[in-house]
Every structure is written in C-alpha cells, then in structure tokens.
Symmetry: C2
Subunit: 424 residues, 2 copies
C-alpha cells in the first residue's frame, strides 16, 4: 500500500440520489489518490494497518458548491439589505465594483473572500469578478492556487451602468480573449464567459463573446430572468429574441461548455426549454432573492421536469457565504412558493436541498460533491451540533448544520483527499 | 460617587424611534444603579475619575427580547424542518413536550435553553413551558434566578392532542392557580396565563383561566390566527365568537395585564380591532412562519396602524434562538409580503426591524431595550464584524450582526448594569 491511502473513522452522510441521504453510522471511509475507495462498517483486513484518523461522533459530509457568487461584493455582505434591486445596484454594488480598478484593493478583498469561502465549506464555485482584467486575473490565480475547482469570469458590460463600469465593446472582447487564453489551461479554476446580464450588454458584445466561446470551447454564466424588471429589459433590448435565454443561445454561447444561469425566477416556457436543451444549470440563491430581489424559484416544479439546479450564496445580494445555509433557506422558500403559488409548485425536502448543494452541483466540477466510491474527496467534518440532552443521528446533524451551523462547526476540511490547514 | 456607577467607552447604537437609529461614535456611556445616565462624546468632568471599560471599535447595542418561544422544544431546533404545521406538531412537538412529565429531563433541557438564550443576546422573553407544573416551575425559577425579565406560562390544553398532553379541565385550572400564586411575586420572571391555542382548549378551560387572570391581575399569551387552519378551527370550535381573538376577550383574559399574541398572520379586522384595543402585542416569528407555518405577517401595514409588534424566535418552529437573526428575516419577509400581496403591504426598513426586536418589545419588561437615559442597562457588546479592508460604521455593524452574526460576535453582556460572566 502506498502513502496515498487515507483511512477515516466517523459517521458519514451524503446524497445517494435526489430524494435520499446515504447514512453510515460509526463507519470507515478509505480515500485513495484523492478519491473515495469505499465505506465500510467493518474495516476490511487489507486496511487494518493503515493509520486512522478518528473523528468519533462527528459527521463527514461532502464539501459544498456555490454556483453563483460575486467576489467583488464581498465587503458589502449584510449591509443595506433593506434596499431593492435597482437601488441596491446603483448605491451599493456598482460603486463597490468600480473600486476594483485598483488591483491592490482587489487583492485584499479577494484573499479574504477566498479564505472565508473555504472556511465556510465551499470548495467549488462559479464566481463573478468585475470588468477589470488585472483584478480578475488575481482572483482566478489565487483560487486556482488554493485548489478551488471552479470557474471565474471577467464580467462584460457595455451599457446601462455608471460610466466607470462600462467597457468599450471591442476592448471588452479583446480583454476577455486574453483572459480566456491565459487561464484556460488552469488545473483547478478555469475561466468562463460572463456577460453580466441582458440590460448591461449590447448585442455586439454578446455576439463577440459567442465567437470567443466557440474558439476556446468555453461555457458561460450570466443572470437569467432574475427579476420581472430584468426579463422585461431583455425583451425590450433584444426584441428579436423570444426570451432572455435565447439572447445567449443565438450568440452560440450555450454550445461550448457549462451554462450557468443565476436565479431563473421568472422563466417563460421558452427559457426553460432552451436551458434544459443545453443541459444548463439554473441556480437558486434563496437569501438573495428575498433580500434585494423579490421572488422565489419554482424549484420543486423545475426539479420534477429534470432541470439541473444548484444553489448560490450570491454574495452580496445574499449575505451568507456558506452555501450550506442556502440549503435550509431553499426548503423554507419552497413552502412559501407552494403557499403563494400552489398551481404546479411543491415544497422540497431537506434531502433534495442538500443534493442540490452537493452532489447535483458537484457534477459540474468533475465528480465531486458526493462520498460514493469514485468521488473526488472534497469533504467536511462537522461537529458540536448535538445537545448534551440528545445525541442526534448523523442525518439530523447534517440538517441542523444547514439551519443553525456556523463555520466553527466545521472541524476539518479535505480537498482532493488532503486535509487543509486549520489556519484559514 | 458610589460604586454603582459604571463608565464604558465605545460606539453605541440603539433605536431612537421606530424609523431611526441613534448612533454615537467613539462615545462614553455612564450607567448608574443599573440604568443609563447619559451618553457623551466628551466625558463630563464629574466622571473623569471613574474606572473605564474601553471596548474600542466594538459596538454597544441593547439586549434583545424574544416575545414567543417554546422552551421545551429546544432540542428540536433545526430538525424535521421540511414538515408542515400539523405533521410537525404530531411527529415532533407533542411527543417532545410529553417528555416533560420527567422533571429531571426538563432540568437538563431548560438549563441549556436558558444559557443559550443569554449567550445569543436575549435577556427578556415570553416563554411557553408545557402542561407539566413541576417542569414549568423549574423553568420559571431558573429564569428568575438568572435575572431574565419575562413571563413563563404553564401551558393549558384539554382537547385535540395526544392523550398524555391533555389535562383534566378542573385540574388544569387548579394547577395553574397554584403556579400563578407561587410565582406572581417573582422579581424578574413572572407567570403568565398560557392557553396553547383555540384548537386545544375548551371554552370551560378558557373561562376558568379568565377568572384566574382577573383574580391575580395577570395577562396572557397564546397563538393568535397563526395559520389558516388554526383560524378555521377557532371559528368552528367557538362559533359564538367573530374571530380567534374574541375567544380570549370574552373570557376576560385581556383585561388584566400584557397580552401577547403569537404569529398573527391571518387576522380579520375584528382580530386587529380587539388586539389593538387592549394594547396587545402581535409577535412576528419570521423563520417559524416560513418553516412549519406558511404565511407572512402584514408587518408594515400593522405598524402603520399603531399595532405593537415584537419578534419571536419561536423555537422550534423557528430554528435559531437568537432574536437578532429574526430582525434580518423580518426585513426579508416584508419584501416578499409586498411582492405577493402588494395591496396595503410594504417592505420594512432595518431600523424598524431592530426597533421591534429591542425598544418596542423591551417596553414590556419595564423600560429596557434601549440605551437612552433612564433605560435599564441590558446590553451587548458586538465585535468582529468589520473586514480588514473596510471598517464599518456602528449602524452597519448592527445590521451585519443581525444578518451574519453569531453568539461569538457578542463579546460582553450586561444585565441590569452588571457584566455577566463569560462562562455561559
């Protein structure tokens, strides 16, 4: 046996499928070359001589994936949360993003953002930068060197925002191409094409990005039908398209790699048809959509139609960088959705929410988000969630963690099979 | 000057009125005999020789009030949160409450509950026990000895629940009278009459409680129009009453002291008229009402009509014992309320939510919940919420604490002017 084998003893919970948690009490998990080899209640003879890490009553779960997050808005989290989208963009978001012209400022923020993300158990992420190439380059380099599997986009926008956030269209395409070229060979964190959203992008810009997508074989993230206002703007600014999603489809932006559509709260049947056709992800960001955006995704109904759905912290429309909190919030919001719009909607279960936040979204990042054999071992050990008067079952620990946990409940973190230093 | 004077230097935030936070940067607060004497940016000559506690960049805020919480459900928090009210009552809540026939078990739970409440910054509370006199007596004695200002009710229920939670009606009245008599002289935590809610109480029981209220001059807490189902049950079981609230009014239960109505999500005009007439509090429990109860209080509209509103953690329909988290959630839900029911509803501001959780509800407990001169000094020092790259203003710290804070951000707690030991 070589030194790339690790043995851990504890309780284990992961999503077996959309509706069911796999629960292993008092069990052994073997990790070989960064991937799960197997889980046993009795340790097989061949592993008996391995040094064992014993977490006792704690619970091992997969690390989380954040499918929609704005790194430059990190300093704004939990502030001015009583504004609504358009005011909030103008007063908080755009002025903050403009500061990322200063690469030194960006470094400070991005270092803190990345550390906090990992501290909160997120090891895979689809991240928005700003229009600024230097700042966004630092972000992708730093995430890549920290081992975070994911995608980072240099944001594109050439209309309808404050002047210092608007790009010259051809310069925007040139900068984006340089960014894609420079980082497409990254091992962990790869570039992704990121038109902000329809209201701030011209057809010329989107078409230019479509050509880059094809040339480099790179996918796209954007905000899709995130608000009634945004959906209306899309129709108004792109009258040749039947829906928001078609704007990107027409430019060929959905042909080349993963497609990640943030929010997806007010889709038409055409939006749903197109996003499903390209096997794209719709990203629910529960806190964001009840803070600065009003509306709730039809999560249960879309899951039942086979839509891929992940969760996003959406810092800083959402306030908490831990995606685990959004699994709890997704369950809560599904009940309100059913209450207010009973037609066709249903509440989702906790196992469904956990699955969206781990296994379903982990598939985007090369077979992680699970602890079944063969999965990349990106995992968290959580503890301190039982009460003295009541010992919880492992699946109850996982649920309480999503509702009540903090990063302090994460007592160990593994990435690609290696334990991360506690000094985050 | 005597030893009952304390001097603290830091930043200070409290609710000046419903719409405005009072903010004092880099200031001095003097506390005399447990009450705020004044706040100064330059320390007056007479206090210059006092020993000073300096919290530097931290922020001093009032302690919070929890106007609706079930102590016996403490162990259930954050579990089975994907159920809805009736299933959740039958599967989780009632079986847990039945265990409080065992007073030894109750002590373990209530000790943990009280410590966690204080750790999370709540120093005033309206608390439900169970039907069990011995367990509930321990709860009120313990809260009283810990200095928590508040009310504890022995719960009354004599129909429509599992057999071991149903009381014989006359025994229920006798037990309640003994409880009221024994504890009405308490200094901090006083007894309150607590019919669970209309579906589980007979007219005979409610009338009997009404007589006790009058005899002892004691108020009432209950669940009022918390769900469509509950409002319907009230009409069905008490056809002589025009609304849920009238059931208690008719029994004289609203004539004798504070009236606290939990949830108040589906009030008729009659419910609103009656509760306002008796100057009662409606209690919004945001997380609870989007977890096991579906619905959102018309908070903004009721505030504009002069209704007193406080916030409740509603453990364990709500999952987080910190009322500060519910101030954030109240803002979020007000936006959804406006989105789904625009007629007459509006979003509330963060200052309004903070005011409900501190000053407005603190009035119930003898002039606390504020830091204006004369207020009882129940206060928290919060810290660790700014970023290295951005120092927040004190009012921003208060907002971020409500959205993102944990008990670890509370670095000191004062009750009646005395600092509490850190060993909670």
């Amino acid at each position: 046996m070589n030194s790339n084998i690790k043995l851990i003893h504890t309780n284990i919970v992961y999503s077996e499928d959309r509706n069911r948690l796999a629960v292993y009490t008092d069990s052994y998990i073997v990790v070989e070359d960064g991937r799960v080899k197997g889980i046993w209640s009795e340790l097989p003879e061949e592993y008996k001589n391995l040094p064992m890490k014993d977490y006792g009553d704690a619970v091992l779960i997969p690390a989380f994936s954040d499918l929609h997050v704005h790194a430059p808005q990190y300093l704004n989290r939990g502030l001015e949360m009583d504004l609504l989208l358009s005011d909030w963009l103008d007063k908080c978001t755009f002025p903050m993003e403009a500061k990322f012209a200063d690469a030194e400022f960006a470094k400070l923020v991005y270092d803190a953002f990345i550390d906090d993300m990992i501290a909160n158990g997120t090891m895979h992420a689809c991240v928005y930068g700003t229009i600024h190439t230097e700042a966004t380059s630092y972000l992708i380099e730093r995430m890549n060197s920290k081992g975070i599997k994911g995608f980072v986009g240099k944001v594109n926008m050439d209309r309808n925002a404050q002047a210092d956030l608007l790009e010259d269209t051809s310069e925007s395409i040139r900068d984006t191409e340089a960014f894609l070229e420079k980082y497409s060979g990254n091992k962990n964190t790869k570039p992704i094409i990121t038109p902000r959203f329809a209201p701030t992008c011209t057809r010329e810009q989107i078409n230019g990005l479509g050509k880059l997508g094809k040339k480099y074989g790179i996918g796209m993230q954007t905000h899709l039908v995130e608000s009634i206002w945004e959906a209306e703007q899309a129709r108004l600014l792109f009258p040749e398209c039947s829906c928001d999603t078609e704007i990107y489809e027409r430019a060929g932006l959905m042909d080349n790699g993963p497609v990640i559509g943030g929010h997806f709260i007010f889709p038409s049947e055409d939006d749903i048809r197109i996003l499903r056709m390209y096997d794209g992800y719709a990203v629910q960001c529960p806190d964001a959509t009840i803070s600065v955006i009003a509306g709730i995704m039809q999560t249960g109904a879309l899951l039942d139609r086979g839509m891929k759905i992940g969760l996003g912290s959406d810092i800083s429309a959402g306030h908490h960088i831990g995606v685990f909190t959004q699994a709890a919030r997704a369950v809560q919001l599904s009940k309100l959705k059913e209450f207010y719009e009973p037609e066709g909607n249903r509440k989702i279960s906790f196992p469904e929410a956990f699955w969206m936040a781990t296994k379903q979204s982990g598939e985007l990042f090369g077979g992680t988000g699970s602890l079944e054999p063969g999965s990349v071992f990106d995992a968290l050990v959580i503890d301190g969630l039982s009460d003295a008067a009541r010992k919880l079952k492992p699946e109850q620990v996982a649920e309480r963690f999503c509702y009540l946990g903090t990063k302090e409940n994460i007592i160990a973190r593994y990435m690609n099979g290696e334990e991360l230093s506690q000094a985050l």
